[in-house]
């Protein structure tokens, strides 16, 4: 939530800007957006009509780069580096941060080896420094580093722009959550009724016992 609040203004700024610029300036706007330290979401900017006009022009690689930052990872970039612009250090760092978010989408426990491979990092110290300074301290993930098990346990990860094909999975998860919540409420209702019933039965039983005690007293 915090991340969204921080980047909402930025997104707004870039979207408004993108709507007014021509192709050459759009390319530098994309470079600026993908380098900005507080921006981790690009789908709003991507959907500005002006930008889609870049496709098929000499600036189409900038458009592809923006799409990569919206949905892609560092590995994606490396496998398409030939037809994408060279990244500035800030952009490279940002793309690696986004890669961590993508990895955190599917797993809560991220092995060091997988992270080092995905992020192109050669040793543990460098990996941990990146996770500490660029990820945990920037607030996009929260979690614990475990050196014995050589893994990063994610407790929270900010959301990236979902790809269209992810929506059905999200809907399914929401539906099952709703279902389990409904059954939870239902079982609570059942428990309440049961408790009421038991308390009624208890009362009745106590009354019967008291009546019998009275009777016995009288007869004595």
């Amino acid at each position: 939530m915090e991340i969204e609040r921080k980047q909402a203004e930025l997104i707004d700024h870039f979207v408004k800007h993108a709507a007014t610029l021509e192709a050459p300036q759009l390319a530098s706007l994309i470079a600026e957006a993908t380098s900005h330290p507080s921006l981790f979401a690009f789908s709003e900017i991507l959907s500005v009509p002006n930008l889609s006009k870049l496709q098929g022009t000499q600036y189409s690689t900038s458009f592809d780069l923006l799409r990569l930052f919206a949905y892609g990872t560092w590995s994606d970039y490396k496998s398409n580096a030939g037809c994408l612009p060279a990244l500035l250090p800030d952009q490279a760092r940002k793309l690696k941060q986004l890669t961590v978010l993508t990895l955190a989408e599917t797993d809560k426990v991220l092995p060091y080896d997988q992270l080092m491979q995905e992020l192109d990092v050669s040793n543990v110290r460098e990996l941990e420094d990146f996770l500490i300074n660029e990820c945990m301290y920037s607030g996009i993930v929260r979690g614990k580093l475990d050196q014995l098990r050589r893994c990063f346990e994610v407790q929270f990860a900010a959301g990236r722009d979902p790809r269209p094909e992810q929506l059905s999975n999200m809907i399914q998860t929401l539906t099952s959550w709703l279902g389990s919540s409904d059954s939870l409420l239902h079982s609570i209702q059942e428990k309440i009724k049961w408790a009421d019933m038991m308390s009624e039965a208890n009362k009745k039983h106590r009354k019967e016992v008291e009546d019998r005690v009275e009777d016995v007293k009288k007869s004595i």
Binding site: M1, R125, E128, Q147, L148
Partner: protein
């Protein structure tokens, strides 16, 4: 005695004008304040004690200054003389600082920084002096031994709006957020420190080194479930054996929770919160996040 004390005061003035502070203090300390012959009122005694202490402090001589501040402490409680009382407070804070009782000094400095009056007696209190006191409070807190008490004072300072204008604020923010401080930041912080705050301790660490290492160790305990001595040493910039020793002392002094496995050469950190509490916290966080989204949906009229 009257003549002697007048002569001593004159000589002390001369020494003071030549900035020979300790000599001036010694000269004044020769005045017998407990004389049975002359009746001296408490205000006079207090003013002399505080004046002598201030002179000794000019030469950073905390030991002698403390002798006279202790004498003054019997007189200050009944004193109505606001200027003297304030000077007494400032001396006491500086003595604690010099004696490296940083957390106590920080509390005293912070107290002084909150003085609201701008005119006490004939002495004017300027903003710079108050800001200096506040900045000293922050410095001493950062140098204090890491642990729960220090965290509380850090929180007070961090939430005090005046601190955000201080030059030292970025360090305060990182320390409060329990973030690891890197060497360049520590070196920049060291530029602002006084000599005694960089003094060498018996174990060859400076006061600053120890404060920073302990702080970074505590910060690491928030980031790691466990860490090897080697990596911890690299992270703290010290040999692994030293890292282990400092960690064990902090655990022993109950300033950090954890355990040390010397066979595996690993430190296991424990959370302040029990497992079950953590579980509850996660559920609370989940519900809060859900609520935020619902609020967002409502506010957007979706």
């Amino acid at each position: 005695e009257e003549q002697v004390s007048v002569i001593r005061e004159k000589l002390a003035e001369l020494y003071e004008s030549e900035q020979q502070w300790s000599k001036a203090a010694q000269m004044l300390s020769g005045i017998d304040l407990e004389s049975g012959i002359r009746m001296l009122d408490d205000a006079y005694k207090l003013s002399k004690c505080v004046h002598i202490a201030r002179l000794y402090l000019e030469d950073d001589d905390a030991v002698n200054a403390e002798v006279f501040i202790n004498k003054a402490s019997f007189l200050v409680s009944t004193s109505q003389h606001e200027v003297l009382n304030l000077q007494y407070k400032v001396c006491y804070a500086r003595i604690l600082d010099l004696k490296r009782k940083f957390l106590e000094a920080a509390l005293r400095y912070y107290d002084i920084s909150q003085i609201e009056k701008r005119q006490i007696g004939d002495e004017e209190i300027d903003e710079d002096a108050l800001e200096q006191a506040l900045s000293s409070a922050v410095t001493c807190t950062i140098l204090a031994a890491a642990g729960p008490q220090r965290s509380r004072v850090l929180a007070t300072l961090y939430k005090d709006e005046r601190c955000s204008k201080l030059k030292i604020y970025p360090i305060l923010q990182k320390v409060y957020l329990e973030r690891i401080l890197r060497k360049p930041e520590i070196d920049a912080f060291a530029q602002e420190l006084k000599a005694h705050q960089k003094a060498l301790l018996p174990d060859n660490f400076t006061v600053l080194d120890r404060a920073m290492i302990e702080h970074n160790l505590l910060s690491a305990s928030k980031l790691y479930t466990n860490i090897s001595f080697d990596e911890l040493g690299t992270l703290l910039g010290i040999p692994p054996e030293k890292a282990e020793k400092i960690a064990s002392r902090m655990i022993y002094e109950d300033r950090m929770r954890g355990s040390i496995d010397q066979v595996e050469a690993v430190i296991h950190f424990e959370d302040d919160m029990e497992e079950l509490q953590q579980w509850d916290q996660q559920i609370v966080g989940l519900c809060q996040a859900l609520n935020d989204i619902l609020d967002c949906i409502t506010s957007k009229g979706i």
